[in-house]
């Protein structure tokens, strides 16, 4: 089973079209392995992106360098997955 320990989901709010374009560029940075849960569409819609733990620093630095505000929506994806599996097991019991 693939693990997502330390992966975070960031909720990003672009202020304008310029920041949105910066976020769209993230899609092309394949080495960062980001997984868009909500794609960059318009400045009034939030963007949610899962970032592997190994690339968190780089992605956060990228956002900061462009002045793009974000918050951490999910602090550790694996914790959520573990809870989900435990809940399923408990329900089965």
């Amino acid at each position: 089973l693939k693990l997502f320990s330390g992966d975070q989901v960031l909720r990003i709010k672009a202020k304008d079209e310029t920041q949105l374009a910066v976020l769209k560029d993230l899609v092309h940075f394949k080495h960062l392995q980001v997984d868009f849960w909500r794609s960059p569409l318009s400045p009034n819609l939030p963007v949610d992106v899962r970032v592997p733990s190994c690339n968190l620093q780089a992605v956060k630095a990228y956002l900061k360098s462009h002045g793009i505000p974000y918050s951490v929506m999910i602090d550790d994806v694996q914790v959520l997955i573990d809870k989900e599996r435990e809940a399923m097991a408990a329900s089965r019991r």
Binding site: D35, L45, M88, S91, R92
Partner: protein, 310 residues
């Protein structure tokens, strides 16, 4: 112990085996209203199952509902299960549902992408696509909601097999999509189409692949407004509505555009709850509230279709 669908917990997530067992029991225990139809086999040879809710008649006008085309959106399968059970529980009690089912049939595909769903349980919880192998690429799978023959390969889909939006090698290349296409065209009398996704609290209608409005835009927009209104009444969950291309983005090859272009006027897609905390990984405690608030919106759309034959 004898297995029974009555012991099933709708407030929990389930594996594909558990869901398929439930479907078997549910259909056999409610055979007066429900039948199980296999419309094909997935790439990995799993049955593609559809529940048919019908009170009789032959080739009645019908409604198509699918959940789980994006396999990681577990809340949609869970909503499908609850909805199936709700249809049986409320038939004969809820006057709107009862008169709907006295006139129309409802087809519900709960696990639209079974291979992907099984994979989310066994290997990769984040998996969204089908599991077909892409020749010449190390990346598997196709986005089954970019694979329909509606401006296939256009804006809002990717030709990169490693992308989550990969449209696939050709329209309907995915057997999961082709099986629905064949079934729906073969039926020939589907009048409403509802694809359920998560998350971001949206109710959308065609077009996705172009910015142009459909000839039915005003009616679809009014109906979406009404459906969102009743949805919000339940728990205050606020939805945005509109055409796909105006509400979020241009997306080619989607199911509801295909449905609309093939004569199904009332074609809608839901994006279920967004708590702002869990993304599509909604805790199981959210399943029933999510399904409960979606239910009156579904009924609103279906009832409108019933009252506006075309």
């Amino acid at each position: 112990l004898e297995r029974s669908s009555s012991t099933f917990s709708f407030s929990s997530y389930h594996t594909i085996e558990e869901i398929y067992d439930w479907i078997d029991n549910f259909a056999s225990e409610n055979s007066n209203l429900v039948s199980k139809i296999q419309i094909g086999q997935s790439y990995e040879q799993r049955p593609l199952l559809v529940l048919k809710f019908s009170t009789g008649g032959s080739n009645r006008s019908a409604v198509w509902i699918d959940t789980g085309i994006h396999s990681r959106e577990w809340i949609t399968h869970a909503t499908g299960l609850w909805t199936a059970n709700q249809i049986v529980s409320e038939y004969g009690k809820d006057p709107v549902l009862t008169s709907i089912l006295d006139t129309l049939d409802i087809f519900l595909e709960i696990v639209t992408n079974p291979d992907g769903f099984a994979y989310t349980h066994s290997e990769d919880r984040m998996w969204r696509k089908t599991r077909s192998i892409n020749p010449g690429s190390s990346c598997s799978g196709v986005d089954a909601n970019r694979n329909w023959d509606s401006n296939f390969g256009g804006t809002g889909s990717s030709d990169d097999a490693c992308s989550d939006d990969y449209h696939g090698p050709s329209p309907h290349s995915e057997v999961e999509v082709k099986s629905i296409v064949d079934f729906v065209l073969g039926h020939g009398n589907i009048k409403a189409w509802i694809s359920i996704h998560s998350f971001s609290q949206l109710l959308m209608f065609p077009y996705g692949y172009k910015l142009e409005l459909t000839p039915d835009h005003q009616e679809l927009n009014d109906l979406a407004r009404e459906a969102v209104k009743v949805l919000t009444t339940k728990y205050g969950t606020e939805y945005t509505y509109g055409s796909i291309s105006s509400t979020i983005y241009q997306a080619s090859g989607t199911s509801i555009d295909w449905a609309y272009d093939n004569g199904i006027k009332y074609s809608f897609t839901f994006e279920l709850r967004d708590t702002g905390e869990h993304g599509f990984m909604l805790p199981a405690s959210e399943i029933i509230p999510t399904a409960e608030e979606t239910w009156p919106a579904l009924l609103t759309i279906i009832d409108h279709a019933r009252h506006h034959p075309y």
